[in-house]
Amino acid sequence: MTQISPHILDALGTVGPASGTVVQATDVHKWFGRLHVLKGVSLEVARREVVVIIGPSGSGKTTFIRCINHLEKIQQGRIFVNGHLIGYREANGKLVEDREKNIARQRQEIGMVFQRFNLFPHLTALGNVVEAPLRVRHMPEHEARDMGRDLLTRVGLAGKLDAYPAQLSGGQQQRVAIARALAMNPALLLFDEPTSALDPEMIGEVLDVMKALAADGMTMIVVSHEMGFAREAADRVVMVDDGQIIEQGSPDEVFGSPRHERTKAFLSKIV
């Protein structure tokens, strides 16, 4: 029986400021070679806001959120997180890629949860969670372990601290992955289809964790086609098609009365 705490973020002690802009992306363009994947994406996300991104396969959803923590380079536009230009610095009017150390520091602020979990298979659940706090933040070991234990307990994995990823179900692995991202106390969490690699009976437990985080006031950008989650937890739904945002609004607006033909066509396919 999975016991997910309603206040997961309490494990971290501190909670950031209540308002302001966390993400500001303007006119982002991305090419893979000659393939124009992002064609001028602009998106602002306020603190404590939950944005769900939907859109057909290949429309650039994954690519866009990977640009936000600079796992992908961009060729045009700017992305700011907490006021910091991500991945680049300006040198006489031109953007040049930032030093690795600075990029790594910026990424500490941005948690990411992957479709295929990407847990570290040679570390236990607790080891996965405390790795970055220990090595990147240089947190004292006992403090990191206490926090890691607390986080894993709150995502319903108190009994699995010493289990290796291979010994966990998909849903459990993804909850460890969420705890791992939270352990760095990020200002923003990015989710790339966090439940699409899961068996149906495990989707609920992961979505429950995400809903609890949303209710706790975590700022989140979630690529997902889980309408139930979007209706319950999202402040805004953004429809991406062919590398552009073609429509956005509250879940009721976008799901209930989509304005764009392509949104209608897309929604008719996923329900």
Partner: protein, 299 residues
């Protein structure tokens, strides 16, 4: 796995191997036998069970040279692999050049070149720099073995790193780790699991390859027996004893190796921790399928 009929009669694979060996020896001694040859089994037993300090010294030197060469070779291999995977082209070329040279020329040539070549040309006179009182020939031999080993280890380590899912590096970076941290803490420990089995084979080879240093007159195990044979002339008994000593070394190593592999298998599927010592010595019947792509992410 193919099961030969009657296999159960002959028994296990080690038993069959032993039986084959005995038959082979009998056959060899039956045909073309020098009837006048007096076996001096006392020499054999003495050098196996009550080895002289000379033999023990040779044994120690063999182990020492092999261990040092292998350790340095692994370090060179990790550096070489990181170099080959570097984003900086000159570093990639340098690492590639190193591998090309040392894998492309005979080890014997490398050993003689490093000692005699560098020494005679005055580039580095090994005998004039007795570091820690170690003879120049030993130094030069160890360096040559290590350099050669480093080239092979470069390829082994590189393959190990490439076998780790790219998502591991990305997850580590997403947490704020630098490339170095991610390599050291996340990628290399996982690559180690892939690297260790071939590394074990490399060290097994290294233990035996040290005998090539005969060319420099380094007094390791083979040279010791070779010299004994020079005075006692009993090649059958002495080299049989010599072979046994090498067999002892490689056998001990195979135990150590399977222990290491089992430890590295932690966290992976239980059947996936490599063959045990039995399997390692005599070939395992059920070899677990190695599939690096299954290592991460999957359920």
């Amino acid at each position: 796995m193919r099961t030969a009929p009657g296999e159960s009669l002959i028994g296990t694979r080690p038993a069959r191997l032993l039986a084959g060996f005995v038959v082979l020896v009998l056959l060899l001694s039956a045909c073309e036998r020098n009837v006048s040859y007096q076996y001096r089994w006392d020499l054999f037993f003495k050098s196996v069970f009550t080895p002289s300090p000379l033999i023990l010294g040779g044994l120690g030197l063999t182990v020492a040279i092999a261990v040092v060469s292998q350790v340095v070779g692994v370090i060179l291999g990790v550096l070489g692999a990181l170099g080959r995977l570097s984003s900086a082209a000159p570093i990639r070329w340098l690492a590639g050049f190193y591998v090309w040279i040392f894998r492309g020329t005979p080890l014997l040539v490398q050993i003689t070149f490093v000692y005699f070549g560098l020494g005679v040309a005055g580039i580095y006179a090994w005998d004039r720099h007795p570091l820690f009182g170690i003879a120049g020939a030993i130094q030069a031999g160890t360096v040559a073995l290590a350099l050669n080993e480093g080239a092979y280890m470069t390829e082994i380590v590189r393959a190990g790193i490439l076998s780790v899912d790219i998502g591991q590096m990305e997850a580590a970076k997403a947490l704020g780790m630098t490339y170095r941290q991610a390599m050291r803490r996340i990628v290399l420990p996982q690559a180690a699991r892939i690297i260790v089995p071939p590394l074990g084979n490399e060290f097994n080879n290294m233990l035996k390859t040290t005998s090539l240093l005969v060319i420099l007159g380094v007094g390791e195990l083979y040279v010791t027996f070779s010299r004994l044979n020079g005075t006692l002339f009993a090649p059958f008994e002495l080299f049989l004893a010599c072979a046994l000593w090498f067999l002892l070394l490689t056998t001990i190593w195979s135990f150590i190796q399977s222990w290491i592999e089992r430890r590295l298998g932690r966290g992976f599927a239980p059947t996936d921790s490599g063959p045990g010592w039995r399997g390692r010595l005599f070939g395992s019947r059920l070899r677990p399928i190695e599939d690096p792509s299954q290592v991460s992410g999957g359920r």
